[in-house]
Structures are given as structure tokens and as C-alpha cells.
């Protein structure tokens, strides 16, 4: 019947446009092109090149910033998720909607917005000037990039946690109170442990895009500010060294895979479907 074959177009499509490209990238990463003879040779040179302190520093900076952004998002986002979850039901829908709305704005516009605020002639400096305080360079540095990350990804931390919190059975909280637990104890021993699947989801949805971004670093960090994403862009579009670029991409993929494996260990929920939708 037709249902047996209806997936065929996609099987073909995915083979050509998902599998093969990745295989190609893997292939590029383990080969080099001799600049004179044009010959293609198998080599681990690209990976070795990456272990130069210069590039390791870039990788480390990406991981560090993404990690910091994730922690800040968690610290700011968890209380926000709790406040949302405890709102009266009618207000909750509107509030959640309002929370999602900025996410629907174009990602670049939201990042650009901070350029205009933090810039030399931007509002922040203007306000400082008004208060007779020294102005500063708030743009084109690590702090700006971190701010950009937190700004862009905060809702991705709040929403999964909020969803899980709303599913916690109220009678569990009442039972804990009945047994003598005050609000702090309930939070620590009941609510937080039961919200772990949401926390894991949130961490995943913040750390992954943060560690691989290049837009935020390009716009808010300036031309000299390099994260792994910028490195890849540079290799592919500027330097034209697709081999090295591919190697970096492979390393990035491995990094992501490891993070996901680690996070999956902590994910005790039985629903392991993709929580993107």
C-alpha cells in the first residue's frame, strides 16, 4: 500500500542532504590538499593544527562563555519559571504568551538591539553622562557577548522548567507541608528534584546554541572576538580552508554529543523525545 513507500522520498532526501554532507565534512576533516600538486591526501594534520594553544583558547572561551551564560540563565530563569507557574491560571496564559513574544522577533534584530544600546553613542552611555558618571566601552567585549547570550536564550531556560513545574502534583507539596516542611524545605526537597527534567532540557537548549554561536560574537564582540563558530565561519568563508574548517566542525559536533550524553545521564524522565516542540 502506498504508506509503505510514502517515506521513500524523504529517505532519499535525508540520505543526500543529511547523511552525505556530514560524511563529506568528516572526509574533508581527515584530508588535506597539497597546495602545489592539488593532490588530496589522508591526514590528521587538521586535528593536530587545532591543538595549537591559539585554537584551544578559542574553544575554551566558547565553552566558558556558554557555561557562564547557562548558569546565569538558570539562576535568573528558575525563579521566573516558578513565578509563572504559581500565577492564577488565566493570567498564566497571557504571561507565558508575553514571555514567548520576544522569541518570535528575529534573532539578529534582538542581538542588534544591544549594539544600539551598549554602543559608544547608545542609551547607556547617555544615561551615565546624564548622571555625571564616567562613560565606558560596553560593546565589543566579552561582557557584551555574555549579555547577548543570556538575553537571547533566557526564554529557552524558562519555558521547559515552567512546563515541568506546572505538572508537579499539588498533593505532593501539600503532603510535604503536612509532614512539617516549610516553603524552603519544600522547594529544596520536593520541587527542585522533581523539576530536574526541565532543568536538563533548559540547560541543553541554552548551552548548545551558545557554544556554537557566531552571530552574537560577531555583532557584540567585534571583528576580533573569536568563538568556535567564528573560527568555522572564518575558515570556510575567508581563509577557504575547508579541511581545517571541517575538522573544527567535527570537534564541535563531538563536543555537543558529549554534552548531550552527560546531560542524558541526569535526565530521569521517561519522555526522551525531542523537547524542541
Amino acid at each position: 500500500m502506498f504508506r509503505k513507500h510514502s517515506a521513500f522520498p524523504y529517505v532519499l532526501w535525508s540520505a543526500v542532504f543529511i547523511i552525505i554532507p556530514l560524511l563529506l565534512v568528516a572526509g574533508y576533516s581527515v584530508t588535506t590538499k597539497d597546495s602545489q600538486t592539488g593532490e588530496v591526501l589522508l591526514s590528521l594534520e587538521n586535528y593536530q593544527k587545532f591543538f595549537d594553544p591559539l585554537y584551544i583558547k578559542v574553544l575554551w572561551r566558547s565553552v566558558r562563555l556558554a557555561g557562564q551564560a547557562t548558569i546565569i540563565c538558570l539562576a535568573l530563569g528558575y525563579p521566573m519559571a516558578m513565578i509563572l507557574a504559581n500565577m492564577p491560571v488565566k493570567k498564566q496564559r497571557t504571561a507565558a504568551l508575553l514571555f514567548i513574544l520576544p522569541m518570535w522577533m528575529n534573532f539578529l534584530l534582538r542581538t542588534y538591539a544591544w549594539m544600539s544600546i551598549l554602543g559608544k553613542n547608545g542609551i547607556v552611555n547617555r544615561v551615565l553622562e546624564f548622571l555625571h558618571l564616567p562613560q565606558g566601552h560596553f560593546l565589543y567585549n566579552e561582557g557584551a557577548v555574555l549579555l547577548g547570550m543570556v538575553y537571547n536564550f533566557l526564554p529557552f531556560m524558562v519555558l521547559p522548567i515552567y512546563t515541568v513545574l506546572t505538572k508537579i502534583d499539588v498533593s505532593l507539596i501539600e503532603a510535604a507541608e503536612d509532614l512539617g516542611a516549610n516553603a524552603a524545605t519544600v522547594l529544596r526537597y520536593i520541587i527542585v528534584p522533581l523539576s530536574v527534567p526541565g532543568i536538563i532540557s533548559g540547560i541543553t537548549m541554552v548551552f548548545m546554541p551558545a557554544v556554537s554561536t557566531f552571530v552574537i560574537s560577531a555583532l557584540l564582540g567585534g571583528g576580533q572576538f573569536m568563538l568556535v563558530g567564528n573560527l568555522v565561519e572564518q575558515q570556510f568563508l575567508l581563509v577557504n580552508n575547508w579541511h581545517f574548517g571541517s575538522a573544527i566542525s567535527m570537534i564541535l559536533m563531538v563536543l555537543i554529543l558529549i554534552s548531550m550524553a552527560v546531560l542524558n545521564r541526569y535526565d530521569t524522565s521517561s519522555e526522551k523525545e525531542v523537547n524542541m516542540i
Binding site: 529517505v11 534573532f107 575547508w242
Partner: protein, 259 residues
């Protein structure tokens, strides 16, 4: 926890989220260039926006690609979901994992991989490569929207229909399709949204002067502050707000789109 503390905290967070957007909107009406100097009310940036050919071109391509890719990916994706739903466990698992790759991979890896493919086969970078790329990252979301609806169908619905005299096509049309239609629509909407909003993948897979809004904005922003972007933001924000209000009014309950 004190009510006032909660209110203040929530307000601060909401302010944080909206402040940049509000700044963009307000200063789109600024005669001056920088957000530090208000030089009077002016619509000149809107004028500049509407006469900016590169932006208009980018808008054209954005909509074109979004419409085409969401249509095509919805068709392929729905067919794929139907097929995958009936696959044997091993094949099903493989297909689902492959399907997840574009979802889980960072955009930059997906973009670079496709660029590599197109480059390797010496394809011309332009509308076709851009379209292919968008279809590729859209299909998984369509599948992920339709599959759950298929799972919810009673397993023998199709057979029951045929037992009652329906041809397979009729049964599909009258029994299965109406049930999965909400999933199809959701998938199409997600695909459209992702396509309009995409930057990274498009950045690596386009060429020959073909751009989209995100790329146009990036190019401008990279060179510094450009108030035309403010005007564009305001218009886009208005559109998005309008759309969300319409959706909210129609359905009465918001589907959980963690886009």
C-alpha cells in the same frame, strides 16, 4: 515568598526582555542616528527602509523561500511521517535518529555541511541551494508534528474503514487526514517561522546575490549602527504581534510552540 518581591522580580525580567525591543521601536522614529541622542520625531528611516532596494530584495527572497520551503517540506514531511509510522522498529529507529540530526546539530554545522555538499558537487549557490537547505531543516519539524498525531489514531482505523467499504484512498481522505491535519498545519507553521527567521544556515548556503532579511541585517549591522534596522524591527514586531493576537483569538489556547 513575598508577593511584592515576586512582582518586582518578574517585572525586572520582563523589562529586561522587552527593553531592547522598545528601544529599537522608539528610536526608529528618531531623527538622529544614535540611541544616545534624541533629535526629534521623524519617519525618515521608514522612508529609507522602503526605498532600500537591498532590503526589499531580501524581503522578497525571505518570503519566497519561506513559502516554498514550508509547502514542499510539509508535503515530503507528511508523507515521510506516514511511512515512518508504519515502519518496523529497526528502520523506524534509524529514520527517527537521522531525522533528529538537523534538529540537534548546531546550525553552523548543518550550514557548513550543506555548503560542503554544494561546493563538492560544484553547484551554483543561489535560490536552489538556499531552498534545498531550508527544506532540509524544515522537514524534521513537520515530521515531529505529524507523528504524534498518527500515534494517537487507533491502530485499526484504516482497516475499520475499509471493512465498511472504503477504498484505501477514501479511507485516508476521510479518516486519517482529518485527524492528522492539525499536526500538519502546526508543522507547516513551524517550518514557515523557522524559515523566515533563519540566519546561519542560509548564510552558508546562499550566493549569487540571493539574501534574506536576516543576512541583510547582519551585513548592515556588521558595519555599525544603522537606524534603518530600527524601522525594520518595528514593522516586524508589529507583524509578529498582530499574528500572535490573531492566532490567540482564533484558537483560544496557545499551542506550545517552543520556537
Amino acid at each position: 515568598m513575598s508577593r511584592w518581591l515576586k512582582r518586582i522580580y518578574a517585572s525586572v525580567i520582563f523589562l529586561f526582555l522587552y527593553a531592547p525591543i522598545i528601544v529599537l521601536i522608539i528610536f526608529s522614529f528618531n531623527a538622529g542616528k544614535y540611541s544616545g541622542n534624541w533629535e526629534g520625531f521623524s519617519l525618515k528611516w521608514y522612508q529609507a527602509l522602503l526605498t532600500d532596494r537591498s532590503i526589499m530584495k531580501a524581503l522578497y527572497y525571505t518570503v519566497l523561500i519561506a513559502v516554498l520551503s514550508s509547502l514542499i517540506s510539509t508535503v515530503i514531511g507528511t508523507l515521510a511521517a506516514l511511512g515512518i509510522h508504519h515502519m518496523k522498529p529497526l528502520r523506524k529507529n534509524i529514520m527517527l535518529n537521522v531525522n533528529n540530526i538537523p534538529v540537534l546539530n548546531p546550525d553552523i554545522v548543518t550550514g557548513v555541511a550543506l555548503m560542503t555538499l554544494f561546493g563538492f558537487f560544484k553547484m551554483q549557490f543561489g535560490v536552489s541551494t538556499l531552498l534545498i537547505a531550508h527544506i532540509t531543516f524544515n522537514i524534521p519539524y513537520v515530521i515531529l508534528s505529524v507523528l504524534p498525531k498518527l500515534k494517537q489514531l487507533p491502530a485499526d482505523a484504516l482497516e475499520a474503514a475499509m471493512d465498511l467499504g472504503a477504498t484505501p484512498w477514501y479511507a485516508f481522505r476521510k479518516v486519517i487526514f482529518p485527524e492528522i491535519l492539525p499536526g500538519i498545519i502546526t508543522g507547516a507553521l513551524i517550518a514557515f517561522t523557522l524559515s523566515v527567521d533563519d540566519f546561519v544556515i542560509s548564510f552558508f548556503t546562499t550566493g549569487g546575490g540571493v539574501t534574506n532579511l536576516s543576512i541583510a541585517i547582519f551585513a548592515m549591522a556588521r558595519r555599525g549602527i544603522k537606524p534603518v534596522i530600527n524601522a525594520l524591527s518595528t514593522l516586524m514586531f508589529g507583524t509578529v504581534l498582530g499574528l500572535l493576537l490573531i492566532i490567540n483569538a482564533r484558537s483560544g489556547d496557545v499551542t506550545e510552540l517552543d520556537v
